[in-house]
Point group: C2
Chain length 224, copies 2
């Protein structure tokens, strides 16, 4: 039987597929954590808290693939930039997985208290952050400049929601000091969601750099 030696483009495609898989896992965990918070479902939270083994394995595997591609294939120009971008995106996705755990931890504390308020803006923030992340990864895979720019455009909306969550909860805390502890946890969750948006923004900026070889970072779009 002949051993199949994959072509470089095949290996690049596999790398992209693995990054998408990693993004899917990270997104799932964020979705689960926020749904468990809204539904006050402690067992569902536990599934997020228990282990992110799959993400961690994939993180190491992707790093390894990138190093091997750099070492063995010595790619040039856009392929080189794509692989270096993949290393960075891999780090961003791993942090999103960590943030899902942080959200689940704060949610578990939140569930120890009676609900402070109906949760409307936090699920909205979660949806927005997840959409930004998915679009940023799609933009990377398809090298789609327009989609990457669309990710950057939504960062302000996420910021506005975060400020709204903060002000509304500050108001609750002032009026009812017994809500201070759970309100704090909701504020922390909104900040974790904002950071997921930041990671999506990082990925989108990498895509713009990759495709246009122009560095948008530190120009039109200042990081928070």
């Amino acid at each position: 039987m002949e051993r199949h030696v994959p072509h470089f483009q095949e290996e690049l495609d596999t790398l992209k597929t693995r990054l998408l898989a990693m993004g899917g896992l990270a997104e799932d965990r964020v979705r689960l954590a926020v749904r468990a918070l809204v539904d006050r479902d402690a067992p569902m939270l536990d599934t997020v808290l228990v282990s992110d083994e799959a993400i961690n394995r994939l993180h190491i595997e992707i790093d390894d693939r990138c190093l091997k591609l750099l070492a063995l294939r010595q790619p040039m120009a856009i392929d080189l930039r794509a692989i270096v971008s993949a290393v960075k995106i891999n780090t961003d996705l791993e942090r999103v997985g960590d943030l899902a755990v942080n959200i689940a931890e704060a949610a578990a504390r939140y569930l120890q208290h009676p609900p402070v308020k109906e949760l409307i803006d936090i699920p909205r923030m979660a949806d927005l952050a997840k959409d930004m992340l998915r679009d940023a990864l799609d933009a990377f895979v398809r090298r789609d400049l327009q989609l990457a720019r669309h990710v950057l455009d939504r960062d302000d909306a996420l910021d506005t929601l975060k400020i709204h969550v903060f002000r509304s909860l500050l108001d609750h805390m002032m009026r009812a000091p017994d809500t201070i502890e759970p309100a704090m946890d909701l504020i922390l969750i909104s900040r974790h969601l904002e950071r997921i948006g930041d990671h999506a923004t990082n990925v989108a900026e990498d895509v713009i750099f990759l495709v246009s070889a122009r560095d948008v970072r530190h120009h039109q779009h200042d990081l928070p």
Copy 2:
């Protein structure tokens, strides 16, 4: 006049020097922001808020150096891993610069109110985080495994300080609801400092991976 073409090792050394310079800038900004908070010095805060132009320029320059080294020198083995690590470390340092701005923003809000309490743990957290960051970078430059491990060891101390800050401020908020707003800002500052420690930890993990070619991430030391 003959044009000097630098050797590969010379270019690697320059890369290290530039990373150290970037680390120094990031560390300075954190130090300034926390000192301005403690001294209630609004003009000093402004110097942090005004611009991180120097860090941003260095961030782009270092990324560029790494890509050029990868493209033109096609390094192998430990040199390849060192350059890929430099790309990651560069990202971590840029985020530390962003966190200094976040600290300065929260500090500026904090200064609008009377002091909530004497600040003891927050300057301690800042010192610890800065030391971790500096040691992590030194460990990278000197490929010093032991120093890198010493960085990881201190992450728990930073976490303990953060929990202490949180509990003590929660107590203030419960007893005096008019301290809620400024106390929130101190809690946020302690979390920004914790994240600086996380970035130092990332750098230290990269060093251990680089030197021992063994992946410590997701094993002995779980990220928060």
